[in-house]
Symmetry: C2
Subunit: 266 residues, 2 copies
């Protein structure tokens, strides 16, 4: 689908880190190309051997699946299903025994509480399930998750346009969330579109967001499979700022961004 | 462990909903006792038959496991492992083939971004995996997830005290997050304790938070197994306020809480 061929760049309204406390460095690619996939060790359960077998998927096909699955499983489940349903067919186990449908719980930022957008939660799950957890030596999934959170925050969403949209694309404006949180992402869009949460337009917007995330996820996984995945995010909140955090400090704190207690320099 | 026998009540510094835009009703139990467990229908994958077999667990044993697993898997993975590792032993499948370790990604509010506390993310996963997703007719997991988010937000954390703490309990103050987000929960505690993110005290605090959540999760699952689970949260953000949201509106919005576009009353 030509319109979506360049999601990697097209979705980014800007690559700069969102201005927070005025202390954030630019989030440019940092040249951490590593020999992916790394082989992760097993650790207990019968499916805890990484990486899981992966065959490259078509990003557009995956996004179309996510778009349609959203209307059944909502954001997190849709992203997981769009990738794993294909791998159930093309690979088999361990995807066949992975319980996709329970992840409907990720909807609405976890059962409607507006925390992390389910698309990001689901994408992080998929990336870490396939490439393996960092505690077993597989760091790609950790990096892909961070890349997605940053990409999502900066993208003019929704990026993906389905082949047969349920709603005319003219009714779906684009907004930049500057945050990976459902409440902020949906809220900013609702304000711009002037549409309520229960409107067909808002639902289709979120289905397209899930599709956009699924598309970009498969871009990263395919690059990883080819040994060409390179982490794009340089966001290191604990190391740089002393607390687990997003990049948009001022969105909640205004100009009064607190400084966390920091370790003494030795 | 006597000190933790009454987590249900002891952890709550107050049961009232956190004051937001001045429009929130009290979050008292709402008498929605249902005949749990309901039988959920299968839907595709080999493990997508609900409810999953569950035997009642000891909350204290589970919390101790979560406390220790935190030092290996961090918050989300620790909660999942504390329940599923026991069920691997006591029940077998489908727990043996569930890939626990990949959920290290939930750490620090999803790879350090400070969104939803991994303990809440992991608890929601466990509840929905065992009791089944709401789209398959199992609503208990959805309710338990919401209950946990509310309980966590109101609890004086950490509630659970391990038998053999790595850090003297006197060094671990208690704080109320008023939010299910990692950044807020950890940030408030760090401010009170005046300890940096990398301190042994902060780590032990988060290990105890994971343990506290695991304890309460098993309390709910055991009640469900006995047919006595009753949803405690009445938080209905979409229906009542028109957007997926937490309850602490003013924490980010201050006094200028926006009103989302609402559906026209017919």
């Amino acid at each position: 689908m030509e319109e979506n061929d360049t999601l990697e760049t097209k979705g980014l309204s800007r690559r700069q880190v969102i201005t927070g406390a005025g202390v954030l460095a630019a989030g440019a690619a940092v040249g951490r190309l590593t020999a992916w996939p790394s082989v992760a060790s097993a650790s207990g359960g019968s499916t805890e051997k990484w990486p899981w077998p992966y065959v490259k998927l078509d990003p557009t096909v995956t996004a179309e699946l996510a778009y349609n699955e959203w209307y059944r499983l909502f954001c997190g489940g849709a992203v997981i299903s769009s990738v794993f349903s294909q791998l159930r067919e093309k690979v088999g186990e361990p995807y066949k025994s992975f319980p996709i449908d329970s992840f409907v719980y990720m909807e609405g930022g976890v059962v409607g509480w507006g925390t992390i957008c389910g698309s990001n939660n689901g994408a992080a799950l998929v990336a870490n399930m396939i490439t393996g957890p960092r505690i077993a030596g597989g760091e790609a999934g950790h990096h892909m998750s961070s890349d997605m959170l940053e990409w999502y925050s900066n993208a003019s969403m929704p990026v993906f346009v389905p082949k047969t949209p349920k709603i005319n694309p003219d009714q779906i404006p684009h907004t930049v969330s500057e945050s990976p949180l459902c409440h902020v992402s949906v809220g900013r869009w609702m304000k711009e579109a002037n549409k309520p949460i229960g409107s067909p337009e808002r639902k289709d917007r979120c289905a397209r967001v899930a599709a956009s995330v699924a598309f970009h996820l498969v871009e990263m996984l395919n690059a990883w499979k080819d040994g060409k995945y390179e982490p794009a995010s340089s966001w290191s909140p604990v190391g740089d700022f002393g607390i687990n955090a997003q990049q948009n400090c001022t969105a909640c704190h205004g100009s009064d961004v607190p400084t966390p207690p920091m370790a003494k320099k030795s």
